[in-house]
């Protein structure tokens, strides 16, 4: 039984290339993930900062996944789904839109720079848009600097 991570399972080698923002991107598999595939198919170049996590629908993306990324120290998060009305599951992305409309306000309010959270609609046909979105997101996230919310040095005591 391996429920909580144990000593031997730890993989602690440093993973981020110094000085570069690391961004997690949650993509629905029908539109945005396919759009990212298309960007590859058409050899569109974009920065290598984004790591994609594939989900069935953007509605699967719990805002707390986004929070976890920021809590763990990733520099930015992108959530991307189908355009409204084009959801494979008919209405999942409408829920995503509402959820994150609220959640981003909460993030900002507790003091997370708005530069760190992004959302986009990228369809399976929008490879170019995907590349553009990544470029813009990387630029914006990097403008906020590295995530130091919970790093030891930044911890404010007293």
């Amino acid at each position: 039984m391996k429920d909580s991570p144990s000593v031997e399972d730890r993989d602690l080698e440093p993973k981020s290339s110094e000085g570069k923002a690391k961004i997690a991107a949650f993509l629905c598999k029908w539109c945005s993930y396919a759009g990212a595939d298309l960007a590859g198919g058409s050899r569109r170049k974009y920065p290598a900062n984004v790591r994609i996590i594939r989900t069935p629908c953007s509605a699967r993306i719990n805002p707390l996944f986004v929070w976890k990324c920021l809590e763990e120290g990733l520099d930015g998060v992108l959530v991307s789904g189908c355009h409204p009305g084009e959801c494979h599951y008919t209405e999942g992305n409408y829920h995503t839109r509402r959820t994150f409309a609220v959640f981003r306000k909460l993030l900002e309010y507790i003091g997370i720079e708005s530069e760190r959270f992004h959302m986009s609609w990228v369809s399976a046909a929008e490879g170019d848009k995907w590349a553009e979105v990544v470029k813009e997101v990387v630029k914006t996230v990097e403008s906020a600097g590295p995530n130091k919310y919970f790093s030891k040095s930044e911890e404010a005591h007293g």
């Binding site: 429920d3 909580s4 805002p63 707390l64 929070w67 976890k68 809590e71 409204p84 009305g85 209405e91 409408y94 829920h95 839109r97 509402r98 959820t99 994150f100 409309a101 609220v102 959640f103 981003r104 306000k105 909460l106 900002e108 309010y109 507790i110 003091g111 997370i112 720079e113 708005s114 992004h118 959302m119 986009s120 609609w121 979105v133 813009e136 997101v137 919310y149 919970f150 911890e155 404010a156 005591h157």
Partner: protein, 283 residues
């Protein structure tokens, strides 16, 4: 009003409409009140009603769901509405003894902040209504300009200032979960913070775990919190939780024109959508 209240309570018990009435009784210091649970007609004389009845007793409906009568102010009734809306209680099983409320004061005798922008002096739903001798003619629905001033004050600060502000607050958190336990809408039998596989929230009181806990708590109440303010009242380390709750209430009102606690037939806003919801933040 107290006589009226006791009379109605007696009737409910006598006619076997309820087996138990949750109300307020005088506390040991003879000024303030504590919650009380009345089962017999004789005990009814313990019931009191005045400006010291701050508790939102509907929190007890999380546990006592059937054959129960409850003394409820307008704000408390909003959480009862939400509990009905979210399938937690059956309207038929709860007799609401609504009380007209002209505001409550804390132990220091200060008027509660929430009372100053109250729009529900008279409860929205009830089975019996206890009116004051000089009844308010109606609820004043006009939006108080002051309502979100505390939120706006914080919004006006810079992002790092807000971060510092909240970190100083969250740092104090001892994870006693009084905010959760008192909240009528935190009715989950197992809270997400207790989940270990995977571990969503670090269980220990570190700045990081505390921040996550407070973010999650606030978000899980988004569009549901009826602003009874009990969480803030019970917090032993005075974290201004209403500032968080009100912020989300404000945003949801602005974006989705939804105010929780008024209609049990509505879908809560985060389980609903409109085709033209705002999306200016989406690329």
């Amino acid at each position: 009003m107290v006589e009226q209240l006791r009379q109605k309570a007696k009737e409910l018990l006598r006619n076997r409409k309820v087996e138990l009435i949750i109300g307020y009784q005088r506390s040991n210091n003879n000024i303030f009140t504590t919650p009380c649970f009345i089962e017999t007609e004789d005990e009814v004389s313990r019931l009191v009603w005045d400006k010291h009845c701050i508790y939102n007793l509907s929190s007890y409906l999380k546990e006592i769901k059937k054959g129960v009568g409850i003394v409820a102010k307008g704000c408390d009734v909003k959480s009862i509405v939400a509990l009905i809306q979210e399938n937690q209680i059956d309207r038929d099983q709860v007799k609401i003894i609504g009380v007209e409320c002209q505001g409550q004061v804390d132990e220091k005798g200060q008027s509660l902040e929430k009372c100053q922008s109250c729009q529900v002096h008279i409860p929205g739903i009830y089975d019996v209504l206890i009116r004051s001798k000089t009844p308010l003619s109606k609820n004043e629905p006009e939006e108080s300009a002051e309502e979100y001033s505390a939120v706006e004050e914080l919004e006006a600060k810079s992002t790092p200032e807000r971060w510092r502000f909240w970190q100083q607050q969250f740092e104090k958190c001892i994870r006693c979960y009084a905010c959760r336990q008192i909240c009528p809408l935190c009715y989950c039998s197992e809270c997400i913070t207790e989940k270990t596989v995977p571990q969503w929230i670090r269980p220990s009181p570190s700045l990081r775990g505390n921040t996550t806990w407070n973010v999650v708590r606030a978000f899980h109440l988004a569009g549901r919190c009826i602003d009874c303010g009990e969480c803030e009242r019970v917090c032993p380390v005075n974290i201004p939780l209403r500032k968080l709750n009100k912020k989300l209430q404000k945003e949801i009102m602005a974006m989705f024109n939804y105010m929780p606690g008024f209609d049990s037939k509505n879908k809560p806003p985060l389980t609903d959508f409109r085709l033209d919801d705002p999306e200016e933040f989406v690329r």
